[in-house]
Symmetry: C3
Subunit: 310 residues, 3 copies
């Protein structure tokens, strides 16, 4: 059915075919995501970025994507400069914004906000993070990074490391990888284990899921080591946070036993989870992952607005 005119609130809104279309289109966008390349694929289209919670990298990579295709952006970068201060409902704000530009990228602190906004808007809404909820374009970037490295997602062995309880990116990624037949190996502090209902959902989509006994062993067999950030704000007690955060830190020694082809990913920003020395290693894929935000979002915006990509 294609993505044209649809909302993108959760990665589960997309079929395997939808995702494959985005991945194909992202590859076609790669040569267009460079300086001096003039492309007019989205000329005449205006994207509204409504960030009621700041998120610099997400905002800038959406904007860059739109601009690289000849489109234009209007932006609320900061909740403080918005009418929500005057007490306006998200419904009214979204409905009004949908009368201006041609699609809305929404970032909001409250879970469920994107779904609510999509109901108010008569233009497509892309969820760019709503509280502990979804952030589906991040998942598409994660998949594109693996696909670029390995040419496929099926059969990849992916270690998910870190906060698997609260980390929304981990849940969405696990779902998508499950759909594509990747093998998931979970490694988290006990207090941050994958919630039971997410695990049940993964079983339902037929995902192969196992728990890592030992991180070293899991890394030895893995194609992808996906590290997530442990959020300080999830812990009442700072000592508890320090204990958990210190329990895993990826450096070159940890990676010594890995396969040559292993890639290390991270949605960034990182705190101490990955040592800077890893940046120079051939395993490091997290900055490439960040850079792929532009071509993947070029593909997504192009498909959602025009039904075509390149």
């Amino acid at each position: 059915m294609g993505l044209k005119g649809r909302d993108l609130i959760s990665i589960r809104d997309l079929s395997r075919e939808d995702i494959e279309e985005v991945l194909r289109a992202s590859r076609r966008m790669l040569p267009l995501a460079v300086g001096g390349k003039v492309n007019r694929g989205l000329a005449g289209w205006v994207l509204t970025l409504a960030f009621f919670e700041p998120s610099t990298r997400t905002r800038l990579s959406f904007e860059t994507a739109m601009l690289r295709l000849g489109g234009a952006c209007v932006t609320i970068a900061d909740p403080a400069s918005s009418s929500t201060k005057k007490g306006e409902s998200l419904h009214d704000t979204t409905r009004i914004l949908s009368g201006y530009g041609d699609a809305i990228v929404l970032r909001h602190p409250n879970e469920g906000a994107a779904r609510l906004a999509a109901m108010a808007s008569d233009k497509p809404v892309i969820n760019a993070g709503d509280g502990a909820g979804q952030h589906p374009s991040q998942t598409l970037i994660d998949l594109a990074t693996m696909h670029e490295a390995f040419g496929t997602l099926t059969g990849l062995k992916v270690v998910l490391l870190g906060d698997l309880k609260f980390g929304r990116t981990a849940h969405s990624l696990a779902h998508a990888l499950g759909v594509f037949g990747a093998e998931l190996v979970l490694s988290s502090p006990p207090s941050l284990a994958l919630p039971e209902e997410v695990r049940e959902h993964l079983d339902q989509v037929g995902a192969k899921v196992s728990d890592a006994d030992q991180l070293h062993q899991a890394i030895r067999d893995a194609d992808v080591l996906y590290v997530t950030r442990i959020q300080r704000e999830r812990f009442g007690d700072d000592r508890e946070y320090q204990k958990v955060a210190g329990s895993y830190r990826i450096d070159n020694a940890v990676l010594a036993g890995a396969k040559d082809r292993l890639i290390v990913m991270h949605p960034l920003p990182r705190m101490g989870e990955i040592a800077p020395e890893v940046d120079g290693s051939p395993h490091a894929a997290y900055f490439r992952q960040a850079a792929l935000g532009v071509p993947v979002r070029m593909a997504l915006l192009s498909l959602m607005l025009t039904g075509k990509a390149g």
Copy 2:
């Protein structure tokens, strides 16, 4: 004489002919204010938006207007990120900004700021709100909304409801409607009645003005019900505010006796003045009114910068 190169500080700066030109141009802009329509009418022009007080909807609809015509924008969205913090005068700031882009849209907390800025600038200045002062492009949008609905302004019966004392939009709109020969019916809490000098001015321009005895009766005869927001910050005492604010609230029951063709308008954001159930009614015109901000501002910018519109 046309609008090219002129400032727009108050709606009174515009003659009836000027306003008619904007309304005609706005209608021509309607088919251009949609996604994927490439227009280069303002290619090569740069608009500076200097918002020393946040106003998301005004800023974004001006920006969208400029971008839809192939123009470009540079924006101060937030007073906190501006040099005024360093103690620079508005005169100096405006004079410097007028050396960059080709026109300035100014929003400022202080009444009279726009007139002062226009004196400092050698490029056109558009007042997008200065304290309790003017906001003329809002009035043009209000007129365009009525004109779209009825094909004329002359002879329309318009009920102005709410804060007619402090509400700057109401004063500007009353003036413009008076000039076009509409009939004004005023309905406000006694403490928020139209100031005597505004009333005298309306007499001078030959406006037909009366007071609503009963809101129900006034609505029954009206073509337009224009609701304004009662601003909490105008009341020292919150109980006083609650009493006044609660004294009028438009819902479907209130609108039951209205003519079929009645439209309900509101400059938004609304608080409790219009019940959400009205959104689904054929009377609701306030979201359409907001959306018309883009084509009306396209017309205005085009006429002010190039002297032409489409």
Copy 3:
């Protein structure tokens, strides 16, 4: 060797030939820096403005420059809306940003930040101010203003007045003028004199430097009077600040004995250093200086991104 692909961190990164190339290109940009002039020289290029400290005029004039050449901008205007709040290092932030757009204009409160960012970025970085450090594009604008007025820099007699200790613009300008064979006359309160190491550096580049005995006498002989702002924040004691700040104030009486061709410059914002009455004098060049920010930055961006300018 040309500027293409190089960083611009300090004015000392540029040879005399580099600066002459920017000045020539700036003159070619002048007729393109006007409304309605369509230029596509930077079409397809995206500039990232990362302002971790607000600076409205610098940001807006870079943005205007980019847009006037058909380029596009993505902007962090305000540190509050950035990921640095989450504790990310400048290295990581810059590295990620360099994966999006094609060059980075960085403003940062910490001295040395721009050099650090340039090491992290694989795209050109322009330093738009880092603490008490450099701001080289301001110096290029200063030179362009003098060059426009006199057709040359060699042999000009330039009085530098004000804070010559902390003012970064004064140090960079003194270096560049020295390289071009201008004659420098220094006038500052004793507590704000030019640091000894800057003076030694000026000797090394062969600059002619002297101290003004009397400001009146220095102005009488000068071609350029360059006034800098005395920053209140440099003084612990407000009375000390008031005493020093009051010790020089340029008004028409002070300028009465000057040569006809003297120009008064100031990097702005000014506080009380130049009386408003001077604005109307033929000596006043500070608003022209501000306006030249756009064509000079058009030249700089064009040369750095494409190696060509017009």
